[in-house]
């Protein structure tokens, strides 16, 4: 066990994967000489050289597409897209190409690449730099999408993603980079496609991923302490494939659920989670599934507006209370 930051876990994993497999290489803007915009790749250019760690020009479409071609010929490129907002420029290559090449050509070749990119919000970066659009990837068959919330998950899922033969969108989060956690020594790669119950409980299920899985933990801990509530928490970990069974089984036990997400509510990731629960646990639900999500606006710069637009711990607590009230009315 070692305590380290989420950033450190990512860094260490990239480094050990570069050491492990000669075909692993990194590409992206400012990952080399600048040490990475968020310093995940610090020092790797120096250690592995320009061949393995490649600074690219500012052309998300071009270098992401190049990673696809390189992957087809046997490399295992790990692309960094500086923030998920910029990934829109590469979307044609990711959705129309990376996700399709295995199927469209009858399974002749695979595209073993990883796209690492942070989502975020809450950094006062304004409307075009504060979006959480993992939905755009989670929606697409042919892609796998993972979203770790802790350093240990970051490590286990990044190892798995790099060794997987399919294109993986690896979602990071600006607000998580400095968070700390224990990472077991000799950690094995995770199994992609599985959610995890990170706290057992019987009163209500909180479901989140990435930053919001941590917020769910905080809320559960706080309400356990202050009100003696026994809340179950699920970290989705994988957005595609989506592990519906773990979610539904939990709600069959707790009979109530609140879904947490950092993206916009309407059509957001939470819509699928809520729809899934309402369907799979139809006979078990004692109250409507509540969703706590971002306000549906282009994110303003001014701090009070930004804060008002983002879901907070208090918002989640309020949603839990209102949901349990509704359950109470029914029980």
């Amino acid at each position: 066990m070692t305590e380290m930051t989420y950033r450190q876990a990512l860094h260490d994993t990239l480094r050990s994967e570069l050491q492990r497999d000669e075909n692993v290489m990194l590409m992206g803007e400012e990952i080399g000489i600048f040490d990475g915009s968020y310093k995940i790749t610090a020092g790797l250019l120096k250690e592995f050289g320009e061949r393995r760690v490649r600074d690219t020009p500012i052309e998300e479409l071009g270098f992401t597409g190049a990673a696809i071609g390189a992957a087809m010929l046997g490399l295992r490129p790990v692309v960094e897209i500086m923030t998920i907002n910029f990934s829109l420029l590469a979307l044609d290559q990711i959705v129309n190409h990376a996700a399709k090449i295995h199927g469209m050509f009858g399974g002749q070749m695979s595209v073993p690449m990883v796209i690492r990119t942070p989502g975020g919000g809450g950094q006062q970066l304004g409307a075009s730099h504060s979006q959480n659009i993992e939905l755009y990837y989670a929606f697409v068959p042919g892609l796998k999408v993972v979203a770790p919330s802790t350093p240990a998950e970051a490590k286990a899922l990044l190892m798995a993603s790099i060794r997987d033969d399919d294109p993986v969108l690896f979602l990071e989060n600006l607000a998580l980079y400095n968070t700390k956690g224990e990472v077991p020594d000799g950690l094995e790669p995770a199994v992609i496609g599985k959610a995890k119950v990170t706290r057992e409980g019987k009163d209500l299920t909180l479901i989140g991923y990435s930053r919001m899985a941590l917020v769910a933990q905080q809320v559960a801990d706080r309400l356990a302490e202050s009100e003696g509530l026994d809340i179950e928490v699920i970290d989705l970990r994988s957005l595609r494939p989506l592990d519906r069974d773990t979610v539904v089984e939990s709600v069959k036990k707790t009979n109530a659920a609140v879904v947490l997400e950092d993206d916009w509510l309407t059509y957001g990731i939470g819509a699928e989670i809520a729809a899934t629960i309402s369907d799979g646990a139809f006979d078990y639900l004692d109250a409507p599934v509540r969703r706590v999500a971002m306000a549906e606006v282009p994110m303003p710069y001014a701090k009070p507006l930004e804060t008002a637009a983002l879901p907070s711990v208090d918002d989640v607590i309020n949603a839990v209370h209102e949901t349990l009230d509704a359950v109470g009315r029914r029980r």
Partner: protein, 377 residues
Amino acid sequence: MAAPAKTTRSASTRTAGKAGSRSPRRPKIDDAERARLTAYYKQMLLIRRFEERAQRAYTEALIGGYCHLNLGEEAAVAGLLGELNPGDYLFTNYREHGYALARGIDPRKVMAELYGRVDGVSKGWGGSMHMFDVTHRMLGGYGIVGGQLPIATGAALALQYQSRPDIVMCTMGDGTVATGAFHESLNLAGLWDLPIVYVIINNGLGMGTDVAHSSAEPDLYKRGAAYRIESARVNGLDPEEAAAGAKRAVEVARGGRPYLLEVMTERLRGHSVVDPAKYRSPEDVAALKLNDPVQTFAAKLKDAGVLDDDAVAEFDREAIAIVDDAAAFAADSPTPETSTLFDYTYATPVPNDSRRYPGEALFPALPVAAGAAGRNA
């Protein structure tokens, strides 16, 4: 709105009258040369007959989707691909039946792909726009205009990374030069010294939009300079001229630098099989006939004494026989089983992958009694 100096519509005039002009009678042609020229001709003829057959099959509803033909580009295709080694990689766009044939893929498999059958090169998953054959190193067939460029560029990066002697050839249409993907790809290739030949097959048209309406610099090969990439324009109505251009390009790429080659061709018919091309003037259409590369090359070879009328007729019968056989094979090949629908979503199997047909429930109903276990029931 003044357009930049309009390039004229016919490939021959666009290349300063080179195309279609017969070369002076060659004094001596040795056997090797004779074989080479004949091979070009047979290759071109096969493409011609294959595409005509595809057109027919499309109108007979044996082929679906979009169907873009290489009619008019036979010489370019034959000339270009002749310069590649088996170890090299080819990336093309959706107008690629001829490339598949010239790359050596069995015409039966190409036709079966058009028919959407299991014996197709892409097992029926790709169709006309998505020919792919890993053993022949033809890595697509892409329907998104410009989509193949970054991918091909990345393939060249892998070759460099692995210190392999092979190169990449990546073809595109004239309309593709406008895409951001063109710019970003050539910039990477120029910057990183990648072993890749970009080929612009300039048939003068996007769908109906001519180069003068799509490119601020209508001399497309000149765009290479913006990336310090050597470039040239050649006549693509003659396979030897196309080959000469490709030879230099391949040489540069094998030396570790990218190259941009513009090949002037014609599109003899509409953009795709269903396009009547009404936007073309009668003069344009008339000019096209004179520039038919198969006719022109046959005449040239006859002039040079390489072929006679009998040989031409014989080769034609051969080509038609191959194509007929391919069509028969395709018609006999089975269509994919619907049970295989979920076989190619992922290369690495993954738990919780959806394998649901549209009519199926996410959570299939429990046997009637079971519902009663729930609280609300």
